[in-house]
C-alpha cells in the first residue's frame, strides 16, 4: 500500500515538475526534457511532445486537453502533498501563512471558493460520522398511547359496497341424498333434487357409496400430497387411463378441483405475449384462467361467429405480432350461465383457417351430449381430439369432485409440470377417483342413461315453455341439462350487463369497440344494483315456494368479480332418473311458485329504482 502511494506521488511529482519547468532531486532524470520547457505553462506539454520528433503530430485539441490535465494534476496533487511547493507558482497559491492573507486580498474570489470547497470536503470526511436516520415521531409517550388506544384495525373482510351482492345464509341444508331426491333439515318430506349438477344421479346411488367405502378401506381419506409429491395412487392412474380409454386419447390429466382445472389449463398454455379470444358469456372459472394467463383477452359476442371471425382477423392479421405469439379461442361446450351450446364446427373451421388453437370447457356436456356421452364434439360428430384442449368437470355427470383435461399427449404432459392446480395442490382423494371411475364405466357401458337425460331435458323445457305463466325460459339449447328460468316482471339486465348495454350503444358508432372492455358509467350501476337486490328477493321467494311444493331448485349466484355474469335466474338441473310424472310435477310447481312470488312481490320496490334514477339525473 505504501509503495503504491509512493508511486502515485512520484508520478504526480514528475508531472508537476514537467509542467512547472523546475527540477527537484527526485526527478533528476527528467531534467533535460524539463529544461526544454518554456515558462508558459500552457505550451509546456505541447513543446515536449513536439520535441519527440516531427513525425509525431498530435491533434491540437488533444495537446490542449493533455496539457490541461497535466496542469491540473500537478496543481492538485502537489497541493495535497506539500502546500509549500510548486502549486503556488502554477495557480498562485500562497506558499506561507503570511502570504495567504496577501493572496486573499489580491484574489478574494479564488481564495474564498477554494476555502469553501476544501472546507466542505474536509468537513465531509473528517467532521461527520455515519449514523442511522432517527425519525422522531414528534409525539410524547402519552400521545402515542392515546393513538394506539384509539386505533381500530380494518376488518379482515371489507364491507361490500351498498347494494352489491351479499352472501345470504344457505336456505337449505341437505341431510341425506337419495337417488333423485334429497332430505333437507327442517322438512320431513323428500324434495325432488333439481339443484345439483349430478345429472346422471351418481352421487346418491348405493353402488357409488359401496365403491367409495371399498376405496376408503384401501386408501383412507386423503392422498397425502400433490400428484408429483407422494400424492399419486393407482386410483388416480386408473381413473386417468379410464378417461383416456373413453375419449380415445393416450392420456388425460386430472385436477383436484373443477374450478382450478380450467383456471390452470389456460395459463399453462396462454402466456403474456399471447392472445385469447373469449366468448362473452363464459363462466367465472374460465375468466379467472384468462386473467391468470396475463395474456391479451379479446372478447367476441356470445356465439356470434361473424364477430369471432372479425376479432380473429383483426388480431392475426397484425403485422407487428411476433411470430411466436399463440392464439386461442376459448369457449364453453354448454354455457353454464346461459344453457346454450357453442357452434363448435364453425369455431373449429375458423380456428383451422387462421391457425388458432381452441380451448373448450366441456363441463356440462361431458356425460350428457353425444352418442356415448363424450361431450359437445361428439354431439356435432367431431372427433373430440380435433379440439386442441378440452377441459371438463368431474363434479357434474361423474358425480365426484375435480376436473380433467385432455388433448394431444403434449398438451397433457405439459400440464404435469406447468398446470398450477396440478403441481401445487393436493391431489384428489383416491376414493373420489374410484367413484368417478365407477360412474364413468356405468354410463359408457350403457349410454341409454345419457339419452334418457337428454329426453328429460327436452321434455321439461317444452313443459316449462308451455306453462305460459309469468315464467320465462331463457332460450337456449333444447338438450341442455341446465335450464335457466327468469320472471316475466324482471328486467333481463344484471349489474354486470351494464357494460354490455354500453357496448351495444357504442356498437352503432364503432363496431371495433365491442371487443374492448368497457365499464358502464357509474350512474347506471347503482340503479341496476338496486333492481338486482329486489329481484333476488323474488327469486329467493320462488325457491322457497317451490321447496314447499316438493321441488328443490337453485337460484344462480354470481361473484361480484364475475364481469360477464348475466342477470340472476332460477337454475333447474335435470337428471336422468326423473320420470315423466316428476317432470310434469316440476313444471306445475314452478308455475305455481312463480305465481305465488308474483303475488307476494313488493311493487313499490320495483318502482323505486326508476324514481331514484330520474331524481339523480335531475340533480
Amino acid at each position: 500500500m505504501a509503495l503504491r502511494i509512493a508511486a502515485v506521488l512520484a508520478v504526480a511529482a514528475s508531472v508537476a515538475v514537467l509542467a512547472n519547468g523546475q527540477s527537484v532531486p527526485g526527478a533528476a532524470t527528467k531534467a533535460p526534457a524539463a529544461s526544454a520547457a518554456k515558462s508558459n505553462n500552457g505550451d509546456l506539454l505541447a513543446g515536449l511532445l513536439a520535441s519527440l520528433g516531427d513525425w509525431v503530430k498530435p491533434a491540437d485539441d488533444f495537446v490542449q486537453t493533455a496539457t490541461e490535465y497535466g496542469k491540473l494534476m500537478s496543481g492538485t496533487m502537489t497541493f495535497l502533498t506539500s502546500p509549500s511547493s510548486v502549486y503556488s507558482e502554477i495557480v498562485g497559491m500562497p506558499r506561507r501563512a503570511e502570504d495567504a492573507w496577501a493572496f486573499a486580498q489580491r484574489k478574494p474570489l479564488e481564495a474564498a471558493t477554494r476555502a469553501i470547497i476544501f472546507g466542505i470536503i474536509i468537513a465531509t470526511w473528517f467532521f461527520t460520522k455515519p449514523k442511522d436516520v432517527i425519525r422522531a415521531s414528534g409525539l410524547t409517550a402519552a400521545q402515542q398511547e392515546d393513538l394506539i388506544e384509539d386505533w381500530e384495525p380494518e376488518p379482515l373482510v371489507p364491507r361490500a359496497p351498498r347494494g352489491t351482492y351479499v352472501a345470504r345464509p344457505a336456505t337449505f341444508v341437505v341431510r341425506e341424498q337419495r337417488v333423485k331426491t334429497v332430505l333437507v333439515e327442517g322438512r320431513d318430506t323428500e324434495l325432488l333434487n333439481c339443484a345439483s349438477a349430478d345429472f346422471l344421479n351418481v352421487a346418491g346411488d348405493p353402488e357409488t357409496k359401496r365403491v367409495a367405502k371399498a376405496a376408503l378401506d384401501v386408501y383412507t381419506v386423503g392422498s397425502c400430497g400433490p400428484r408429483g409429491f407422494y400424492g399419486t395412487t393407482d386410483a388416480h392412474l386408473s381413473l386417468e387411463a379410464a378417461l383416456a380409454d373413453v375419449i380415445g386419447c393416450e392420456e388425460t390429466i386430472t385436477y383436484s378441483d373443477a374450478t382450478a382445472t380450467v383456471a390452470s389449463a389456460i395459463p399453462a398454455f396462454a402466456k403474456r405475449q399471447d392472445v385469447v379470444f373469449l366468448d362473452d358469456a363464459v363462466n367465472h372459472a374460465v375468466q379467472t384462467g384468462c386473467t391468470l394467463s396475463r395474456c391479451k383477452v379479446v372478447r367476441f359476442r356470445h356465439n356470434d361467429m361473424a364477430d369471432l371471425e372479425r376479432a380473429v382477423k383483426g388480431e392475426c392479421g397484425s403485422k407487428r405480432a411476433p411470430p411466436s405469439r399463440r392464439y386461442f379461442i376459448v369457449v364453453e361446450g354448454i354455457y353454464a350461465n346461459r344453457g346454450d351450446i357453442c357452434p363448435l364446427p364453425e369455431i373449429l373451421a375458423i380456428a383451422r383457417r387462421f391457425r388458432v388453437r381452441t380451448i373448450v370447457d366441456d363441463s356440462l356436456a361431458f356425460g350428457v351430449l353425444g352418442k356415448r356421452g363424450r361431450g359437445t364434439a361428439e354431439h356435432f360428430g367431431i372427433n373430440p381430439l380435433d379440439v386442441d384442449i378440452t377441459v371438463a368437470s368431474m363434479a357434474t355427470s361423474l358425480g365426484s369432485v375435480g376436473g380433467f383435461c385432455y388433448g394431444s399427449d403434449e398438451v397433457v404432459d405439459h400440464q404435469r409440470i406447468s398446470g398450477a392446480g396440478y403441481v401445487f395442490s393436493a391431489s384428489l382423494p383416491p376414493f373420489l377417483c374410484a367413484t368417478a371411475e365407477a360412474a364413468l364405466r356405468r354410463f359408457t357401458a350403457d349410454a341409454t342413461v345419457c339419452s334418457q337425460l337428454r329426453d328429460n331435458a327436452r321434455t321439461l323445457r317444452s313443459l316449462l315453455e308451455l306453462s305460459r305463466g309469468r315464467l320465462k325460459v331463457v332460450s337456449s339449447f333444447e338438450e341442455s341439462p341446465v335450464i335457466h328460468v327468469r320472471l316475466s316482471w324482471h328486467s333481463d339486465r344484471s349489474v354486470n350487463d351494464a357494460h354490455r348495454i354500453e357496448e351495444a350503444r357504442a356498437d352503432s358508432e364503432d363496431p371495433e369497440s365491442l371487443t374492448r372492455w368497457k365499464y358502464a358509467p357509474r350512474r347506471s350501476r347503482p340503479a341496476l344494483r338496486r333492481f338486482q337486490g329486489v329481484e333476488d328477493d323474488d327469486l329467493d321467494r320462488v325457491v322457497a315456494e317451490a321447496a314447499d311444493r316438493g321441488v328443490l331448485v337453485a337460484r344462480s349466484r354470481y361473484l361480484v368479480s364475475d364481469k360477464l355474469a348475466p342477470a340472476n335466474s332460477i337454475r333447474i338441473h335435470v337428471s336422468a332418473a326423473l320420470t315423466n310424472e316428476d317432470l310434469q310435477k316440476i313444471a306445475v310447481v314452478m308455475e305455481e311458485a312463480v305465481e305465488a312470488a308474483f303475488e307476494a312481490r313488493d311493487p313499490a320496490a320495483h318502482a323505486a329504482p326508476a324514481r331514484a334514477d330520474t331524481l339523480r339525473k335531475r340533480r
Binding site: D61, T65, L72, T124, T128, P130, V133
Partner: protein, 158 residues
C-alpha cells in the same frame, strides 16, 4: 429499508465506484471537448467543455439520485416506492463512505472547472448554480431539513 439487501443501490457502496466515476467524468470531458460549441472558439473551448461537463454531471446526478424513485426489484417495490435513490443508498444511513464520495467528487469537479475557467464570471455563476442547486443542496441533510419542503426533497418519513 434495508440497505444491504437493496440490490438497486448496493453497488454504490463498492470500492470500484470511485474510479469508474472519475473515468466517466474524464470521458465526458473528452467527448464534450470534441463536440465543439457554437459560442466557443480557440482557447475557450476547454473552458466551455469543463463547464459543460459540470452542468451535465449536475443534471444527470440530480435526476438519477433525487428525481428517480423506487426500485425495479419486484420484492422491494412496495417498500421503496416513494424513496429516492439517494435515500436508498446504504439503507438511508447518513455520511457513509459512498455518500462522502458522492459529495466530494462534484465539489472537486466544480473546483477544477473554476480553476480551468480562471474564475471568469459567467462560468462561475453557472457552476455555482449547478453546485448549490443540483449537487449539494439535495445531498446535505441540514439543507434538506430547512429548505427541503421548497425543493420537494424532504427526507422520507418513517
Amino acid at each position: 429499508m434495508d440497505g444491504h439487501g437493496n440490490v438497486n443501490v448496493s453497488w454504490m457502496s463498492t470500492p470500484m465506484v470511485l474510479p469508474t466515476y472519475l473515468i466517466a467524468l474524464l470521458l465526458a470531458r473528452f467527448f464534450l471537448g470534441h463536440i465543439g460549441f457554437p459560442l466557443a472558439n480557440g482557447d475557450r473551448d476547454a473552458h466551455v467543455a469543463w463547464t459543460a461537463t459540470h452542468v451535465l454531471h449536475g443534471m444527470l446526478t440530480f435526476v438519477a439520485f433525487h428525481v428517480a424513485r423506487g426500485s425495479p426489484v419486484a420484492d422491494d417495490q412496495p417498500l421503496l416506492a416513494n424513496i429516492s435513490i439517494w435515500d436508498q443508498i446504504d439503507g438511508g444511513k447518513l455520511w457513509t463512505p459512498a455518500r462522502r464520495v458522492l459529495i466530494t467528487v462534484p465539489a472537486l469537479l466544480f473546483l477544477i472547472t473554476c480553476e480551468v475557467t480562471g474564475y471568469s464570471l459567467p462560468h462561475l455563476v453557472i457552476n455555482v448554480g449547478v453546485l448549490v442547486l443540483l449537487e449539494l443542496s439535495p445531498k446535505l441533510p441540514i439543507v434538506r431539513r430547512y429548505v427541503g419542503g421548497v425543493l420537494g426533497l424532504r427526507p422520507p418519513k418513517a
